[in-house]
Amino acid sequence: MESKGGKLVAWALAAVAVVAFVVYMATQVVGPAARGMPRPVAGALTLPDVLFYVIAGFTVVGAAGVTLSRNILYSAFGLLTALLGAGALYVMLSADFVAVAQLLVYIGGVLVLILFAVMLTSRISDIKVSNTSFGLFGGVLLFVAAAPVLLSVALLTPWRVVPPAALAPTAEVIGDALLSRWLLPFEVASLVLLSTLIGAVLIARKEIKAEEA
């Protein structure tokens, strides 16, 4: 694997394996499962359906932007889009509290953090470097191998679903649950956050100090 040729051979082998895998999955697994599935009833597109597709598209495009964008800033905006879309999906799934948490924590916290990191670590000369991805071929292979499997599982599995309940506010129930049934994980999570706080400060600060010294 040291030489260029060895690397090429390895990639070719991986590609052949992935293609063979995808073909096998499509013919042997997905095909029979799809044949057994009841045909979806074609009906009129209701507003919620339209809304879902819009939001889903929004989300997936954002995610694709994260992956494919050449600029790290654009990736960050793609992430923003994907996270917003995911939050909207939570609302559609009657998880209002999770959606708000997504907005507050992800978009208000994590994304801002990521933007800060981008600002702090990027230099003008790094713009190009920060963008380039390597192993694009590998990435494609990976996507080709992963996405169909997951999608086929998601779409073809006959899930035992129950009729969803009516939309209702969940904040009260979640509050009760967190302080009764999931009290211990809740406390552990708080400890994790605390140690994260300290650890993050320590890691970042120590190196700065070392540099100063």
């Binding site: 694997m1 992935v18 895998f21 096998y24 590998g138 191998a145 992963a146």
Partner: protein, 821 residues
């Protein structure tokens, strides 16, 4: 002595748990001085050193007196104190304890050792005042006393032998005390080696006795080349198995295993008491067994007696092993007095007396002992005639007197031999210490030709020396007369001696004749030494050293005086506390010893000064010993005078149980022989006075010229040392050379050949190891390393690569999930 056979019983033992203190104090003193003496001497001065040593001695003496007191208040038949400390060895039926015993004989010895030993310690304070290694001297001295006490107090052969070797060691250390002088170191070695010869005999005799008690040689079985050793002893027609048939873990078990006959333990034993009991008590039959036992046709008892006597020869300086004693005079004079006159050399006499019940069973062994004693007495006396070194004269006189003691114990007059041991201890200690005083007074001069006229300088020394001369010459107002005449009288009346198993009734009178001649000679040379030393004009003075060259065999004397200075100088350099002055300032030295003659205080450090009297502690010791030489005559007044047995004989009777038949002679004859003894002493004295008084007579020189050849032979001690050199030393070194040649030319070659072969094999083995074994190992290692090197590239350090790996794995798992259904 014992005309009717007494029925003797077992010794009744009285336990006295304090006996161990007697040897303990000297060893304590020796240990303290040996370990921290140098420091004490440095910090507190010499006083503390001799105070420790002398306190130890007096403490031991006090305990001995206490033991004597206890012994005195017991019945004569029960006078046996014992103190067992612990078990040394248990093997089968044999037990050896570290135990001490005091019976009348060892009690007397202990009193002599601790009493005279204490006095000699006191004397040493003055004599050794200039010695830098003061602490070493006193440590050795205490060590010697300890060993000697073990020797006489030991309850069994093992403890006795420990002491026996211990005194040899201490004697060696003290003779070569000034070890920087090669002559003195050699003298110490000579003493040690000569004693080793004796010890060999002693051990051989001991083993033979031990073995005889355990079994006998049986006739040779059919078809076997060797005789058979039977472990069964036939006692009174009854077979007693003496084998250790079972093992014993402790002394009690061992005692339970011991074969008993009529309640008496029989069989091999190390214990004097058990040995004595089984031999002396007729009912056990051990006596018949021992008398009848033979080895290769030789009576075992005779062999045992002679071999044990060889041990005594070494320790007690008898022909032919006496040669070490004159050389032992290289040691400090108080040591000569303590070891080589009063105590150690009497160990052999003590041993024979202790085993009197054994020796009495073998007239041949007794005959040998007496004969060797007599020959030694006359031989050593004749050498003493012409010696000029005052200590050499005393040394040969000691050898001669020891000969007298062996005559005593040899003919069966055990108490007389022991009595002579006692009297000799007193008068010979007086003589030696007197000579020490003279030597000190004459500034380490030992040659009597450099002395003379000392009586006006050293009155106390002179009178005590004269008293001791009277004692050794045998005048009735001193103790020597009584012991010597008892010995000679008993020798004359003994008709039971034998040689090689043949009865020789004439041997007793012959020994008497030899003895009386030796006594005459003794008187002559002792008074010769007295007159040469104390009368006439003082012949010492500056520049006397160059005359030493005429005397080829008094190198020791020259070395003594010359080397003591050099030794002091070298030691002084080593001991900074001693100052840089090799021979320390006499005033300082005498301040310690409280010199009583201030007028001579300045003379000590310089050769050629006026002689001076010794410090008071030395003269006091001399006086006490001289008084003792007088006082001890009362315990040996002959039965012919007082009509009852002498006090000492009565005291020793429980120990000296041997029954020796002496010929009965009328009383007038005994008186006549006592007169003969006095006459002999007088004749010797008369001739000595005639020839040597005031050093005026020219007769000695004329006689020397006339019989120069004879004189030279005798002066050079019959060339015995030279003969030994030729007969023993030369062949021994030649043999050693041959062995060396054999070693270097034969054995070494064989060894080298074996080495070469081994090395060839080793090379072969090494090649196999290197190319085959190591090759395999290296191949495995190289393969592993190569594999690792190629595998290492998988480890890129990049997270993404690992992610691919993880996903590839997941992929495979998913695939397998579908494939295997």
């Amino acid at each position: 002595m014992h005309e009717t056979a007494r029925e003797l019983g077992q010794i009744a033992v009285t336990h006295a748990s304090y006996l161990w203190l007697i040897p303990f104090f000297p060893i304590l003193g020796a240990t303290i001085n040996a370990l921290i003496g140098w420091k004490l001497q440095k910090v507190f001065g010499k006083k503390i050193v001799h105070r420790i040593a002398i306190t130890a001695m007096f403490a031991a003496f006090a305990v001995a007196v206490r033991a004597y007191w206890q012994l005195l208040h017991l019945d004569p038949e029960h006078r046996f104190l014992q103190d067992t400390l612990w078990n040394l060895l248990t093997a089968g039926r044999l037990t050896v304890d570290l135990s001490f015993a005091l019976d009348p004989l060892s009690m007397m010895m202990v009193l002599v050792i601790t009493g005279i030993g204490s006095l000699i310690h006191v004397f040493s304070i003055g004599y050794m005042a200039d010695e830098p290694s003061y602490w070493r001297y006193f440590s050795y001295l205490n060590l010697f006393v300890f060993a000697m006490l073990l020797l006489v107090m030991g309850d069994n052969f093992a403890v006795m032998f420990f002491g026996w070797e211990g005194v040899g060691l201490a004697s060696y250390l003290l003779i070569s005390f000034w070890h920087a002088d090669a002559e003195k170191a050699k003298a110490g070695m000579k003493a040690f080696v000569a004693n080793r010869f004796g010890d060999f005999g002693f051990l051989a005799g001991l083993f033979l006795l031990f073995w005889t008690l355990g079994g006998t040689w049986m006739p040779r079985p059919q078809g076997s080349p060797n005789p058979r050793y039977g472990t069964t002893v036939e006692l009174r027609g009854q077979a007693v198995d003496t084998r250790p048939i079972a093992s014993a873990a402790n002394a009690a078990q061992s005692a339970a295993l011991a074969p008993m006959v009529d309640g008496v333990k029989v069989g091999p034993t190390m214990n004097f008491r058990e040995l004595r009991d089984q031999v002396v008590i007729e009912a056990t039959g051990v006596k018949e067994h021992l008398v009848g036992a033979t080895i290769w046709g030789i009576p075992v008892l005779m062999l045992v007696g002679i071999l044990l006597f060889v041990g005594a020869m070494g320790k007690s300086a008898q022909i032919p092993l006496y040669v070490w004693l004159p050389d032992a005079m290289a040691g400090p004079t108080p040591v000569s007095a303590l070891i080589h006159a009063a105590t150690m050399v009497t160990a052999g006499v003590y041993m024979v007396a202790r085993l009197n019940f054994l020796f009495a069973l073998s007239p041949s062994a007794m005959g040998w002992v007496a004969l060797i004693g007599a020959v030694t007495a006359i031989f050593a006396a004749s050498i003493g005639f012409f010696q000029y070194d005052i200590k050499k004269v005393l040394a040969y006189s000691t050898v001669s007197q020891l000969g007298f003691m062996f005559i005593g114990v040899g003919v069966g007059a055990y108490w007389a031999g022991v009595y002579h041991l006692l009297t000799h201890a007193f008068f010979k200690a007086t003589l030696f210490l007197g000579s020490g005083s003279v030597i000190l007074g004459c500034h380490h001069e030992q040659d009597m030709r450099k002395m003379g006229g000392l009586k006006k300088y050293m009155p106390v020394t002179r009178w005590t020396y004269l008293a001791a001369c009277w004692a050794i010459a045998g005048f009735p107002w001193m103790n020597g007369f009584y012991s010597k005449d008892e010995i000679l009288w008993k020798a004359f009346t003994s008709g039971h001696l034998a040689l090689f198993g043949h009865p020789t009734p004439w041997l007793g009178p012959v020994i008497y004749l030899v003895g009386i001649v030796a006594a005459t000679g003794t008187s002559f040379y002792m008074f010769r030494s007295y007159y040469m030393t104390f009368t006439g004009e003082y012949r010492g003075g500056a520049g006397h050293h160059d005359e030493h060259n005429e005397d080829p065999h008094s190198a020791g004397a020259t070395a003594m005086s010359a080397a003591s200075v050099s030794v002091h100088a070298s030691n002084g350099a080593a001991h900074l506390d001693h100052g840089t002055h090799g021979h320390p300032a006499p005033t300082a030295a005498h301040a310690v010893t409280a010199h009583d003659d201030a007028a001579h205080a300045g003379g000590h450090g310089h050769h050629g000064g006026t002689p001076h009297e010794s410090p008071w502690n030395m003269t006091v010791v001399l006086s006490v010993l001289a008084l003792g030489s007088f006082a001890t005559l009362f315990i040996g007044l002959p039965a012919a005078w007082t009509h009852h047995a002498p006090i000492l004989e009565h005291w020793l009777e429980p120990v000296l149980t041997a029954e020796v038949p002496f010929v009965e002679k009328p009383h007038w004859m005994e008186y006549a022989f006592q007169g003969l003894g006095v006459l002999a002493g007088t004749v010797g004295w008369f001739f000595a006075m005639l020839l040597f008084k005031d050093g005026k007579s020219t007769v000695p020189a004329a006689l020397k010229e006339r019989f120069l050849g004879l004189w030279t032979v005798v002066y050079n001690k019959y060339y015995v040392d030279e003969a030994y050199a030729r007969v023993v030393y030369k062949p021994a070194t030649a043999f050693a050379g041959a062995c060396s040649w054999f070693d270097s030319n034969v054995i070494d070659r064989v060894v080298l050949l074996v080495g070469a072969i081994t090395r060839a094999f080793a090379n072969l083995d090494g090649a196999i190891d290197k190319y085959i074994v190591d090759g395999v190992v290296n191949a495995v290692a190289n393969g592993t390393a190569g594999l690792g090197r190629s595998l290492r590239t998988l480890q890129t350090g990049r997270v993404q690569t690992y992610l691919y790996g993880a996903l590839g794995g997941a992929l495979v798992v998913v695939l397998l999930n579908f494939l295997i259904k």
